[in-house]
Amino acid sequence: MTRHPHIEIADDTMRLSGDMLISDIEGIAGANVPSGTISVIDITQVGRMDTAGAWAVVSLERRIGGGGSKPMVTGASQAQAGLLATLREHMPQDAAVPSHKISVADRLEAFGRATTRAAHTAIAMTGFLGQVVATMFGLILHPKRIRWIAIVHHMQQVGLNAVPIVSLMAFLIGVVLAFQGAAQLRQFGAEVFVVDLIAISILRELGVLLTAIIVAGRSGSAFTAAIGAMKMREEIDAMKTLGVDPITVLVVPRVLALILMLPVLGLIANVSGLIGGAIMSWIELGVSPSVFKARFVSDTDVWHFGVGMIKAPFFALIIGIVGCYEGMQVKGDTESLGELTSVSVVLSIFLVIAADALFSIFFEIVGV
């Protein structure tokens, strides 16, 4: 059974008793001691003592000693004496932990640092993009080095496996557009324009944009996590020492697979969005599929489709580059892996939407 530790002061002697164990040592180490009068610490009565107990004794000894002569510790068993000696050797002199407040200047500094860091990231990411593109051109000259198996594997991962979720999402978007459009257009008796509404918004914007967002969440994060985990386990360093270029092996297949598959996914999204819209128009407005088709074919400029599709490879490049770049930034700890994975998703979605806005302006100027 353990006995609680206890302090007793008589004349110039401080008498400790009980078990000095880590579980209830704080009272002893922090006890008030009169300064200057005590010259002996007697631990004869102490039962068991662990390192925390020895720490308490040594800190008492130091505090009583202050600047002047240290008190004697008497009555230690051989093991306890050994432990005390170890503690005296290893205990840092000033145990005080410096506390510091966060000032306005600190916050300003943090803001400045964050800004320059963002600028550095932008520069570094552009550099990474250049490196990847250069590697791709290098591979065109040496097609034997292209990792076909890896490309096909990633095409399955990012493309084929995403077909169900992408087509379901687009179908529902088509349904919602038709439903909401119907409510408005019926007021003017302009029901049939629902076809134009659905066709233009899905083909031009929503089909590809929403597909890109889903792919960024699905595959961009997977790229970051996979490459980051390899970075953490020093696999990437191992590749470099074996003369294997991680960009060729890891980044190019992923980016290429995305560039090839995102337009396909976008096409699938367009088709299933139109189907969803057509079904809803039929149910809600009585626009029969044949009318829908006729109006769609006669009224919709093929450029709407073209504008949407042109954007797809660029979105793919953004998602792939951001995902792989963030993966390469992972340091040794698991925390940074999680953090960078979420950064990767947020950043790639943001950049995709920003690029979409730029494309809108561009196509407006070009006039298609």
Partner: protein, 259 residues
């Protein structure tokens, strides 16, 4: 449980991964206060034995008692009480990579005890210095440490609560010879001061010579032999002979004699 009883007792332990049997009826006793060296070729199941004893792995059969309590059948609450009384250092160090060294060493104190942050920090600083790390290591992240430093930090975490038993899985592998010798001395010192029992998985013949009271040899899924270093020389088994009488063993022996 009386003083004479073994602090760890393993009876008829069988562990399997799929069809691969690692231990097949393994028996082992560890006495209170001793440093027992566990040796055996790579893949003979030293780490698996350690994991089974601390309850991380459910054996297929057999009984494991630590402090007289069966590790397998103790309810969760009691297992927690047991767990407080031992510290484990895994082969890879297994530091929490998102915490710095100080927070790693404080982690067991934070989980098991109700100490003020100042006390915790003071105790962590002492433990870190005791294992021979410089003070500035306290604020460093595990990924910024060298392999040997990581081992030391892992050991500091294992002894954070002054446990009764420490399980060490190859703590000196990957350390420089001076560091390894200092580690041995440290273990011996702490044993003397704290009355530790040490379950010491190692390949280091110097450590075996220097600090182990007894040695248990694992081979063929069981403990082939236990005994002192001198007794190991007498065992008539090819692996044991090769291990304890090979050129490295002789060098370690000579070194010890001249020391």
């Amino acid at each position: 449980m009386t003083m004479g009883d073994p602090i760890i007792s393993v009876r008829g332990l069988v562990t399997r991964f799929g069809t691969h049997t690692v231990h097949d009826g393994l028996d082992l006793d560890v006495r209170r206060g001793e440093i027992i060296g566990i040796v055996g070729g790579s893949g003979t199941g030293k780490s698996v034995l350690l994991r089974a004893v601390v309850g991380l792995l459910k054996p297929a059969a057999g009984e494991i008692r630590v402090f007289g309590e069966s590790v397998r059948d103790t309810p969760e609450l009691q297992y927690r009480q047991l767990r407080k009384r031992w510290g484990v250092m895994f082969q890879g160090g297994a530091l929490f990579s998102s915490l710095n060294v100080q927070q790693n060493v404080e982690a067991p104190m934070r989980e098991q005890l109700d100490l003020s942050p100042q006390t915790r920090a003071a105790l962590a600083a002492i433990k870190v210095r005791m294992v021979g790390l410089p003070e500035n290591a306290l604020g460093q992240m595990p990924s910024e440490l060298s392999g040997g430093m990581r081992k030391r930090a892992g050991f500091a975490r294992a002894i954070a609560l002054d446990p009764e038993i420490v399980f060490l899985d190859e703590p000196t592998a990957g350390l420089d010879p001076i560091g390894a010798a200092a580690f041995d001395i440290l273990i011996a010192q702490l044993r003397a001061a704290l009355g530790l029992t040490v379950f010491f998985v190692t390949h280091d013949l110097d450590s075996l010579h220097a600090i182990c009271d007894r040695i248990a040899v694992l081979a063929e899924g069981r403990v082939l032999a236990t005994g002192t270093m001198a007794e190991m020389q007498q065992i008539d088994h090819p692996w044991v002979q090769a291990y304890f009488k090979g050129p490295r063993a002789r060098a370690a022996l000579v070194q010890k004699r001249t020391a």
